[in-house]
Amino acid sequence: MNKFLVLFLLCAAAALAETKPGDVDNGKRLFERNGCYQCHGHAGQGGLAGARLSQNKLPQVAFIAYVRNPRSGGMPPFRAKVMSDQDLADVYAYIKTFPEPRAAKDIPLLNQ
């Protein structure tokens, strides 16, 4: 299936789905405990090993659907036996707390 169609359907489903409230503290605990930080960084900054999560624009349902069945060759699928929907909603809530990054143009060391 075309990846854009998949994304469209996920977003549509997200719009219709009921958003689960997330527990930020538990999300932080799971983010660290289950190794999300290992590829995505403690601040969700991403890197060569994993995608950026900071300022993630995916709706919660699409986020959960992706974690269940990632397209990337490196990301493992986290199924319900390992992380429930509520766990992932909590992680999603935690990711949403990552602060807005500073603009690179405002950081002198990134304009050397």
Binding site: G41, M75, R102
Partner: protein
């Protein structure tokens, strides 16, 4: 013939050389053999015939009787080898004494190492800056066993290392158990699968010829480690050979690709609509960088640099995607792929099922009809056992030859074929690549800002802070940057041949700390500022090399990338546990380096270095770097322990 203890002087005033003695002994044995068996048995029962070596009068080395090791030192001096790194060993004690007393401890100068793996990895890093081999010396048994992983790294990285092994081949000269357990029939056998050539000379004349040959072979592309076994008896007995000479070193011209094939490659490249150059181990000399720039500009082709050498300026408009995975660039959009001594060429042109899925499928990632052209000298030295050659590549044109030596002819052939129409297309293509490159760089800067104020410190922040301190110096990054998401490659301006040295080759951890010391040693005489981003897991293999750096006053700033884990493996465990629906939290077991945290600053101080840390607050990093760099500029090594994000 009287029995004389070997430590007593010869009373005969007629010192025999070993060869004369052995000839006499052989005659004696022949006479014995002519006797009737019964008579011989009786004689043996009464008094065992002394073994030739036991019966041999002791030989003093007098003023005009130099030990063989002196001549060996003369041989090594003829090869202009600057350093010999070694952990001391009795099987080469003769050579060590001669190096220092006879050779004046200069060219080569002896470097005291705390582990043979450090010796070889130092030589590995040194060669990538100096462009020539360092010597290392080790026991042919236990020393080589320690050294073997580092030799494998150098072999996979196509780096020359001049290895001299001590051994005592003649049983009659093994004094006690230590010399028996340190002796071996065929010393080089253990590493023959991953060295290019070895020999075990039995005379000094043989030694001289093989020493020169070893150097020549090591330096002929593909450059690789070589081994010379220095027999202990040959080292310590007097020079007996007459008319000894040291052959003149004549290095070979590097193998160049076949002219017809090069012309064909040029046609394929010029006809391409969107060619790409993948650079593996290309630049052996500064000229290699110039040639690669010339070829890419002539063709208007992007260069995807695997960063195994300093191949191409990272700020050049045709430099590949700096933010992408360097070792495995995306080649899907090109109609011609020119690979120059590429590492795992098949792997970067195919996709395999990821570790997060079951089963194994592979499919090409190149566009249908894309042509693949390969130029590589590695095919001249394939071996079977270790699988560093990678999967078989179905190239459209494979040229065996050293890329750097083949480039001039390829560039000229390309020039000859470019018509005005092709030139316009090339210019247009170059412009588009440059624009995309600029967008990539701006995107990278935005990504670098993401965790700017985070603690642990982001690897982007660490790299930017370090760059701010060295960018106006004559600097050299003597470490790989893959484990810090390649931020130096993405943010710094690498342009000079000595500013980057690539990675381990065989992915053997424990390389980086000693390799950075060796590279810094090669930089020292040029007054360059050597810096290393040092992974914590790597330093723990043989941290004693920090002492070697302090002892020999090798200026080097090591900035720890201390993520407190063997992190690559930790990610694998998480991936597999999730794949199997099991608990991923176990990934710390066997991989994490915490509980207690390791205090690298204290370790470094213990070895005599200036050190600070652990530093977790990014605001403290800049001032700490300034303080440490001041010590390095004054000629000493320094270490900063920086607690970092995982990647």
């Amino acid at each position: 013939m009287p029995d004389l203890p070997l430590d007593k002087p010869d009373q005969s005033n007629n010192p025999l050389n070993r060869r004369d003695f052995l000839a006499g002994a052989a005659a004696g044995v022949a006479g014995l053999a002519a006797k009737p068996p019964a008579a011989m048995a009786q004689q043996v029962a009464l008094k065992p015939e002394p073994h030739p070596a036991e019966a041999h009068p002791a030989i003093e080395v007098t003023g005009n009787q130099r030990p063989g090791s002196d001549f060996m030192v003369d041989v090594f001096k003829s090869l202009d080898i600057e350093y010999c790194a070694a952990n001391p060993g009795s099987s080469f004690r003769g050579l060590q004494e001669s190096f220092i007393n006879y050779g004046g401890n200069k060219n080569p100068e002896w470097l005291t190492c705390c582990h043979e793996e450090s010796s070889v990895a130092m030589a590995h890093g040194y060669a990538k800056i100096a462009g020539k081999p360092m010597m290392i010396m080790a026991h042919g048994t236990v020393g080589l066993q320690h050294a073997s992983m580092a030799i494998y790294n150098a072999y996979c990285d196509r780096v020359p290392v001049y290895i001299v092994l001590g051994n005592i081949l003649d049983v009659n000269y093994r004094r006690g158990n230590a010399e028996w357990v340190h002796s071996v029939q065929d010393a080089a056998a253990m590493v023959r699968d991953y060295t290019k050539w070895d020999d075990t000379p039995v005379t000094l004349g043989h030694f001289a010829e093989s020493a020169v040959r070893a150097y020549k072979i090591a330096m002929t592309p593909p450059t690789e480690p070589v081994i010379l076994v220095a027999d202990g008896t040959l080292q310590e007995e007097p020079v007996a050979d007459k008319n000894l000479r040291i052959p003149k070193l004549v290095t070979s011209a590097p193998p160049q690709g076949d002219s017809g094939a090069v012309a064909e490659a040029a046609k394929i490249l010029v006809d391409a609509e969107n060619p790409v150059i993948v650079a593996g181990r290309v630049a052996r000399t500064p000229r290699g960088i110039e040639l690669l720039v010339e070829l890419s500009e002539t063709l208007g082709a992007r260069v995807e640099d695997q960063r195994m050498r300093m191949n191409f300026p990272t700020q050049h408009p045709l430099y590949g995607h700096p933010g992408a995975s360097i070792a495995t660039p995306n080649l899907s959009g090109y109609d011609v792929i020119l690979g120059l001594e590429v590492q795992d060429f098949w792997g970067i042109t195919h996709k395999m099922t990821g570790l997060n899925k079951f089963g194994m499928e592979a499919q090409p990632t190149t566009q249908p009809g894309a042509k693949i052209v390969s130029i590589s000298a590695v095919e001249l030295n394939h071996k079977s056992n270790y699988q560093d050659f990678g999967r078989y590549l179905e190239a459209d044109l494979a040229i065996t030859g050293d890329p750097e030596s083949t480039l001039p002819e390829l560039i000229e052939a390309v020039r000859q074929l470019i018509t005005p129409d092709r030139r316009r297309a090339i210019e247009e293509r170059s412009k588009k690549i440059a624009e995309a490159n600029q967008r990539d760089r701006e995107h990278d800067r935005e990504l670098a800002a993401l965790a700017w104020d985070a603690s642990p410190i982001s690897t982007a922040r660490l790299s930017a802070e370090l760059w701010a301190q060295i960018k106006n110096e004559d600097w050299s990054l003597v470490s790989n940057d893959r484990f810090v998401s390649s931020w130096p490659t993405r943010l710094w301006n690498f342009s000079k041949p000595y500013q980057y040295i690539g990675a381990q080759g065989g992915s053997g951890i424990g390389y980086q700390a000693p390799a950075s010391v060796g590279a810094a040693l090669a930089n020292r005489k040029h007054g360059r500022l050597s810096v290393s981003i040092q992974c914590d897991g790597d330093l723990n293999y043989a941290p004693g090399v920090l002492w070697t750096a302090a002892h020999h006053k090798i200026p080097l700033l090591s900035v720890m990338h201390n993520n407190r884990a063997y992190h690559e493996e930790r990610m694998y465990l998480t991936m597999l546990a999730a794949k199997y629906d099991r608990d991923p939290a176990i990934s710390d077991i066997g991989t994490a380096l915490n509980g207690p945290n390791i205090d690298y600053a204290s370790i470094a101080k213990g070895y005599g270095l200036y050190a600070e840390g652990p530093i977790s607050d990014p605001r403290e990093l800049g001032p700490a770097l300034q303080r440490a760099l001041q010590r390095v500029k004054n000629g000493e090594p320094a270490l900063l322990d920086v607690v970092t994000q995982p990647r």
